[in-house]
Subunit: 335 residues, 2 copies
């Protein structure tokens, strides 16, 4: 993020910073009392609300050589919207806490706000930011809490898959992981550190993969569609299909058997089977549907639920580790 000559957050008061940001943020149709008081008040028309929270930290979760402030706002919104959708709910509102280095230009905060607005407008129209907090920290950090409305439906949990159900995925598998692999292979300098100028060439050569990693477009609308179609289980594909499918299998007390040819059809172009199975951050939806269901929205079948336990691919146990655990994999890098 640049800081050439513009006002930084240490030059401005928190009040001034908020005054610059708030007009750019998306409005929520659920707002009863909006920003400016000690708390917001939101509508919960059916007497319930869905809540999820997620933190993104510079270093383990993003690199400033690769992500623009706009991209960061977009991704922080999109990943939380996807968690709401995975319950079968319609996202209604976000609250956003940001801790930023004191030298961060206010224009970067504005671009972050623009990313939040663009993501809400594109992925969950009517969802907006109803509150927030600004702090200082050496590491740029986003903490987003997202809310949703179940519209009278039961929430779709991980635990409801039944033998015979069709397993389906919305969103293309593996593109985000392919993008991350490209970035670490080609958008780095000679010492392996993320490099902004090399990034530009990679982004130009592989726009789909890079966008899937840096500016994901989760199929948010497919969450409520799946719930309405009778989905028995659902989750957000954040840690890789294999690991996430095992979670559904474990929570539901069943086995999930994935079909390689269906996986190939559900994978992003050029993505191999292993990446489709183990690549993280897809932010698609994995769901199980009763056998006769006409799959809604962008869902494609990838397998079937069976009696048993664990994850199978083409009938054979697949126990390869997949996915992303920040504690195991963070190298402390910061580029």
């Amino acid at each position: 993020m640049g800081n050439s000559g513009s006002t930084t957050i240490q030059d401005a008061s928190e009040r001034e910073a908020l005054r610059r940001i708030f007009p750019r943020l998306p409005q929520s149709r659920a707002t009863i009392v909006g920003p400016g008081d000690d708390a917001a008040v939101l509508a919960a028309p059916d007497g319930r609300y869905v809540v999820t929270t997620d933190m993104m930290v510079h270093g383990p979760d993003f690199r400033l050589a690769w992500s623009s402030p706009f991209d960061l706002g977009w991704k922080a919104a999109a990943t939380n919207l996807s968690d709401v959708a995975a319950m079968g709910a319609v996202p209604t509102a976000l609250v956003v806490a940001i801790a930023a280095p004191p030298t961060t230009p206010l224009t970067d905060l504005e671009a972050i706000a623009d990313g939040f607005r663009a993501a809400c407008d594109a992925l969950a129209p009517g969802c907006g930011v109803v509150g927030g907090d600004l702090s200082v920290s050496a590491a740029l950090t986003f903490a987003v809490t997202a809310f949703g409305d179940l519209e009278g439906r039961a929430p779709v949990l991980r635990s409801g898959a039944r033998p015979g159900d069709v397993v389906a995925v919305s969103g293309r598998l593996g593109a985000a992981a392919a993008g991350l692999r490209l970035l670490f292979a080609e958008a780095v300098d000679a010492s392996g550190e993320p490099d902004a100028s090399r990034f530009a060439a990679v982004a130009a050569a592989h726009p789909a993969e890079v966008a899937a990693q840096l500016r994901p477009e989760p199929p948010v609308a497919d969450g409520p569609l799946a719930a309405a179609a009778g989905a028995t289980a659902m989750l957000d594909l954040s840690d890789g299909l294999a690991l996430d499918a095992r979670r559904v299998a474990e929570a539901s007390g069943v086995a999930i058997d994935l079909d390689p040819s269906l996986l190939h059809a559900a994978a992003a172009p050029g993505v191999d089977l292993r990446t489709a199975l183990t690549g993280g951050e897809d932010h698609g939806l994995l769901a199980a549907f009763p056998p006769d269901t006409v799959l809604p929205g962008g869902f494609r079948p990838v397998g079937i639920v069976r009696e048993g336990a664990g994850l199978l691919v083409d009938g054979a146990v697949f126990d390869e580790r997949g996915g992303w655990d920040p504690y195991l994999e963070w190298d402390g890098g910061r580029g």
Copy 2:
């Protein structure tokens, strides 16, 4: 926070860390779907819910030489509970995102969880933690989002104070600021850095002031009591009475006139008038009530609402800056 020989978060998986923490966290009576899925589902019996979010970052917001992990969990909970109470709502639930250095022992995370539980049990029984996120960061960071139930009442905003209303405060003024002043004066080493061994002596000599700063006990129950008693305006005293009273005056289009003798009676023992007016982090409640109201709970009168604008003390304009702006005042220190 110590790390002698115990398992750290980089040794454990996120799943193992969460398995250690969750049983220690307080339960929420509003839970419909609890932790473990993509999102929680909470009850909103009157079709609305109150939401507030706040971030605490090592350095600007706390020092590890002074705050134990238990204290940090307590304070992160208490300050958010107070914001919910200031709307006149009963706190129902929290979600907690924590980013911690990879070397943080799991026992410290357990102590943080214990602090959350103790604060909820003491200040808002029935309120619990319904979800969270764990990340790694060089700076220990807490992002808490808190929820509340208005129980059918209108929310109490900052904007409703009317000429003739009584201005009242619940909680003792200035103790937290007096504690912070003591810590920076006496609990530091020769170079001015926070020092754990000197801290012990200060905490023993001035337990009330130090506790007010590090383990505040906001009068959470007085928020709903004030709403039920007809409070016309209310806010959480986080940035100092003078600054916060000006916010109520501005939002309500009135002047607030504080009475020095009443302020003295509402101040913590030994706290001078200036500290009572400008000291931050009291986390008491400032409210306005119609003239004939029998003040509920722990509220004490401190002044009156008049026609006009701004803050007066004993009828004279008081425009001294007070309160805490992290962007202006952070020195980058980390002790």
